[in-house]
Amino acid sequence: MNSIITSAVLGVIMMFSGIFLKKNSSIAALATGGAILLLAMAVLDLSGYHFFPVDTHNMLDFELFGQLGNCIAIAMTLAYFLLNGRDIAAIGNNPGEYFALIFFVLCGIAIATSFNSLLMLFLGIEIISIPLYILTGSDKRNLKSNEASLKYFLMGAFSTGIMLLGIAFLYGASDKGSFFLEDIASVKAVGTPMMMTGLILLTVSMSFKVSAAPFHFWTPDVYDGAPTVVTSFMATIVKAGTFIAFIRLFANAFGDMKSHWQIFIAIIAATTLFIGNITAVFQQSVKRMLAYSSIAQVGFMLLALLTLNTLASEGIILYTAVYGIASIGLFGILVKMKDFSFDGFKGLARHEPVLAFTAAIFLLSLAGIPLTGGFLAKYYMIASVIQTGSWLWLVIFALLCATVSVYYYFRVIQAMYFKEGLSQNLEISPGFKMMLILLALIVILLGIFPQLLISRLYITYI
């Protein structure tokens, strides 16, 4: 509850911050301070200190997995503010509002990671989505940004409708008409057409929200059209929060009827992996490549949804964290670049060694090379599938796709390190570099000692 209320209040504060604070940098500083406060509140919540005793009538259930996912999303937001705070403020004329919208999204994530009723899921997902429609179009004078916003809104509204329909079907399928997850999990007549329809509709709309194929078509255009700082937020923090919600939905409501839906998820995972990776190969812009790579990474995360065992829940926590950190770092660098094509990265190792080195670590992590967190994250995913004893074809397919992913991630490394290019006179502050190094260190640290994060799933206080 701490983070829901704090983030909402912070959002309101940020909305009015423009009245008192004139400088962009001070607004960014205020937002960073707010994010620190929010993180502290969320971590305290995780450790058992609840400051807002609200009776949610069991609509929300604050269990460790969702809480930890929420903490990760908030921590990533903090890193995101520290890295790109000024760039967020510089999107347009109303710097305070962008931060306010981001805090509202965080409020939505806090709800979506702790819902225990389908209504709350709907509420959380909508609170996430609506500010994002605005953020996507926040570069008002840019036609591409407007187009992306409109496209995202139309498609998003459509998928919201599908989600509501799915929820309605499940309501009808439950024994005495209920939105609670446990009531849906304990339905006696499992696999009735009504229930399956509801389940499939929910799967479709959630797949849309996490941009899993074949419901991903909005992703490249929206990610490409949105201001790069906003893309960074959407592709990492929002994706992480939504995915935790996706996992919680299936684990708590449909966990006992795996045999009815696993094949759908397997097909979605395989399609997502295939389309994400193959299309990313042909991209000429690093920004679009990262958009497709984020689809490809979702394909890997879906493996956890398929199995829903211990390794999966440990793995998805690690996966969202390292994927998010690496992507925030990469997008953060991309924001500073003037040329988004692969050629724009040529010779970066010579002129900006810190940027190139940290970018290389983030890319290696996304590709899943050992010593970076990305490897262990992928390890947990495939291990959780192998443990089930079936679906081996999916593992092999996923790893073949991972090999393809090396191709496009390494294109950036090759451009940075092995090709000569002219200096671009980028404006990079020492603080930005320090932050990048810190993020790279976290990626490596999680690649060697994943239990630093995973063990939090099992530590209960009080």
């Binding site: 440990e314 290696l364 090379i369 050992p370 010593l371 490897f375 262990l376 390890y379 495939i382 291990a383 192998i386 443990q387 081996l392 593992v395 092999i396 790893l399 073949l400 991972a402 090999t403 090396v406 191709y407 390494f410 090759q414 390190y417 092995f418 090709k419 000692f449 994943p450 239990q451 995973i454 063990s455």
Partner: protein, 488 residues
């Protein structure tokens, strides 16, 4: 503690190397590699049961994985080779001026750390970690300091090996879930085959073998090799051919054959046939080669192929021969690369057709090269003879295959034929008349002379008195054979 030092010294020295000045990096890395060599020599001279030779501590607790390293078995001879090879590589390429030298030497030391980690790890996940870690620095080295087509060539190499590694990862995880105590420890892996059905072992074998086959490389997974060897800077080629290909052979001996004995027996004939096809194929192509680097690369495919056949024959002399030959091949091929490197530096070409008559101008180089070549084609009194003789004995007396005679005869013929192209190369490069390019040739400098002489002395010592190496590898041979149910 010794294995931790063996991995830690090059690792730390490499990281420190990045922060040094370009001029001092060379001396620093030589110092670090000599230090590693000393530790390695101390390690192998210790009594086998010494507690200092192994180290284990918890690593990823939730996966029951340990940071477990030990200097034992097959790891001893290969860690000795690795520790020995790096000082040789550094000294022989001492005069080379690399751009951004500190990065070059730093990455070289990191690759040594990775290699030693592969040879010393006794935990499967750790083994996999180091397996990949050895690859990354080499990829950067070859792509940054290599020849014209370096980026494409090394990328092909990277993709190939990465794909192999990922398939191996599936195999490792599968076996992990079938160990009794859900552990990555080598000892648990050795017990796992009792719980894995024979038909499962049959397909599981290929998942793991693919990684090793690509690394060795076995026909038809070898296509990355000649390009990569040709395009890499010579120092890196030495690491690749002298040490990294041994990772494949080592993996087969330590992590595949004893872990999945039934799978290994089932596919023995198939793999041996592929190896022999590869040997013939390598011979046919090597005959046509005009480029010295590519010639040596193809000769390496033939040697590794023979080792692979000998492993699948599973006999005591055969395995013993493989162990010795891994060491010998590393030394000999590094010697050959040094000669190629010297020739390329002096004349600016590696084309055999453009060279000739060096013997009259550079008698010392010629003499040393001839001995190394003879060792490479396994003439008696050289180290190569010991290894290959034992391997042929092993293959011939094998009871694991019904085609032992066929394998022996065909393999022996290709080995004899390999003498043709090696001696042909010596004749065309060093004898005959000089041309405009080689007329002004000068002999090698004292430093280069010393390092080549050192290699020749090693060749002769092992060739005449191989006993110490046998003693070093006997344990490993016994372990493998008992896990393969040949010996009690």
């Amino acid at each position: 503690m010794v294995p931790v030092l063996l991995i830690g010294i090059p690792l730390l020295a490499g990281l420190i190397g990045f922060s040094l000045k370009d001029a001092s990096a060379r001396g620093w890395s030589l110092f670090a590699s000599l230090l590693t060599l000393i530790v390695s020599l101390v390690g192998i001279s210790m009594p086998r049961d010494s507690k200092l030779l192994s180290f284990s501590t918890d690593w990823i607790i939730s996966l029951n994985s340990h940071f477990a390293v030990a200097l034992d078995g097959t790891g001893q001879i290969l860690s000795l080779l690795t520790a020995l090879a790096f000082p040789i590589i550094f000294i022989s390429t001492w005069k080379e001026d690399y751009k951004r030298a500190k990065n070059f030497y730093g990455l070289m030391l990191l690759s040594q750390a990775g290699l030693l980690g592969v040879f010393l790890a006794t935990d499967a996940l750790l083994f996999y970690f180091f397996w990949e870690l050895a690859l990354i620095p080499v990829y950067f080295l070859a792509s940054q300091w290599g020849g014209e087509r370096r980026i494409a060539a090394t990328f092909k190499f990277f993709i190939y090996t990465f794909l192999g590694s990922l398939m191996m990862l599936i195999g490792i995880i599968y076996i992990y879930f079938h160990t009794k105590d859900h552990s990555f420890a080598l000892s648990s892996f050795y017990g796992a085959h009792l719980l894995i059905q024979a038909d499962t072992q049959a397909w599981l074998f290929w998942f793991i073998f693919l990684a090793f086959a690509i690394k060795m490389p076995i026909f038809p997974f070898h296509t990355w090799q000649p390009d990569t060897y040709e395009q890499s800077p010579t120092a890196v080629t030495m690491v690749l051919s002298g040490l990294m290909v041994k990772m494949g052979v080592f993996g087969l001996i330590r992590w595949l054959a004893p872990v999945l004995p039934m799978g290994t027996y089932m596919w023995g004939d198939t793999v041996s046939t592929l190896s022999i096809i590869g040997m013939i194929y390598a011979y046919l192509i090597a005959m046509q080669q005009d480029d010295l680097k590519r010639l040596v690369a193809y000769s390496s495919i033939a040697h590794i192929g023979l080792m692979c056949v000998a492993i699948f024959a599973t006999t005591e002399p055969g395995i013993q021969g493989v162990m010795i030959q891994m060491f010998n091949h590393g030394i000999n091929i590094i010697g050959l690369w040094i000669v190629v490197f010297l020739i390329e530096k002096q004349f600016g070409t590696r084309k055999i057709s453009e060279l000739g008559g060096l013997a009259s101008k550079a008698p010392v180089l010629t003499m040393l090269l001839v001995i190394i070549t003879l060792a490479n084609i396994a003439l008696p009194l050289t180290n190569g003879f010991i290894g290959e003789f034992l391997m042929f004995t092993g293959i011939y007396s094998s009871r694991a295959t019904t085609y032992n005679v066929v394998f022996t005869v065909t393999a022996a013929i290709t080995v004899i034929l390999s003498a043709v192209y090696m001696l042909n190369m010596v004749q065309r490069v060093f004898y005959g008349s000089t041309n405009a390019l080689t007329a002004k040739a000068v002999d090698i400098r004292p430093g280069e002379k010393m390092i080549l002489a050192f290699i020749v002395i090693l060749i002769l010592i092992v060739g005449v008195y191989p006993e110490p190496l046998f003693r070093l590898t006997q344990d490993a041979v016994n372990t493998l054979l008992s896990k393969m149910y040949i010996k009690p």
